[in-house]
Symmetry: C2
Subunit: 208 residues, 2 copies
């Protein structure tokens, strides 16, 4: 199909498709003349994926690029799942050495209990340290008392994340599903958390 048909099939405006092509979010079509290219179903699918990551997952263009690179460059199922390491945007915050040591000191016993052995420069660990540092800096260190229970709950979530992939056959399927499930899954879990908070809050503090 031509660019105009790709636009109607995907619901994405032509100008946006051209932007995605320039940014490398969409693979180029097959050239049929110097000014025309032909696109196929794979392009429609990829456009839908890009839109979902941006509109539903709230990802930036840069984060979409990283997620797609992880989907396209998978070498093994495990390292593909390790895409998650890349699919996280580390907060741009400077944490001093003392705070860093304090945060790791609180996290390490919990990680050990669950057999988690992230490497030192793991973006997820960096992100965790930034949040813990912000809690302390803002005078809400009390929020960290729940860390062991959060870790316990999140372990169950991660077990389920992997279980959802179990029935899939091709590495391509597993990798795309893992990426979509992790990125959009963050949004889903965020929504569920708010719904659950309402009920607990009503139970504890009563209705208005």
């Amino acid at each position: 199909m031509r660019m105009a048909e790709l636009s109607s099939a995907s619901g994405v405006p032509v100008a946006t498709i051209k932007y995605y092509l320039r940014e490398g979010l969409l693979q180029p079509g097959e050239r049929t003349s110097p000014n025309q290219a032909r696109y196929g179903e794979a392009h429609v699918r990829r456009l839908k994926l890009v839109r979902a990551l941006i509109d539903v997952g709230g990802l930036s263009i840069a984060a979409v690029q990283e997620t797609l690179a992880a989907i396209d460059d998978h070498v093994s199922t495990h390292s593909a799942l390790g895409f998650a390491q890349k699919g996280i945007t580390v907060p741009d915050v400077v944490v001093d050495e003392e705070t860093r040591a304090w945060a790791l000191g609180r996290f390490e016993p919990i990680a050990k209990e669950h057999g988690w052995e992230p490497c030192d420069d793991d973006p997820a660990v960096e992100t965790l340290i930034s949040v813990m540092s912000a809690f302390r800096d803002l005078g809400h260190e009390n929020l960290l008392d729940g860390l062991p229970r959060y870790a316990e709950a999140v372990r169950r979530i991660a077990e389920q994340d992997l279980a959802s992939l179990a029935g899939m056959k091709s590495v391509e399927q597993i990798v795309e599903s893992a990426a979509v499930g992790t990125v959009l899954g963050d949004t889903l879990l965020m929504a569920l958390r708010r719904i659950a908070q309402q009920e607990v809050s009503e139970r504890v503090y009563g209705k208005d």
Copy 2:
């Protein structure tokens, strides 16, 4: 203190402070002359909070405004906790009636089991529907098989969220802690989920 001192005390550049004042993210200082104002510790605290919400929580200026309004306008502890309802950015996606009914059909039995009774236009429910719709649209409906286990894990997270607030005395403290814990907590949980996924993935698929 003067604007320049507020800048050094908070680590936020003067130009950024002026921008926050214009956007209403920071309360005005006490006017001491037509061109000067005096700021206090409350301003330093508020600036730190704004920076954390933006840099660590990844919030937009609009989302920060909503979060601060929820903190400032609290009428009761429960409705303040209900800020969470506002602190979520609903994906800008159109979901057709059939898909909407399908998504609610899958979610309602789970909500019922946990005693969750969100109202129909709850932004968290709208967000949930968008994600479920995206999963189906992208051919990853399998990811929804885990919904009951996700709900179960998230219920524990919400219980902990509320437990962290139990020791606090003033409504102001509870409300700010709930806002910070929910917004930055999303980032913390996202980071923990990736760390946990790595371990489960290694266990299931082996190391590279």
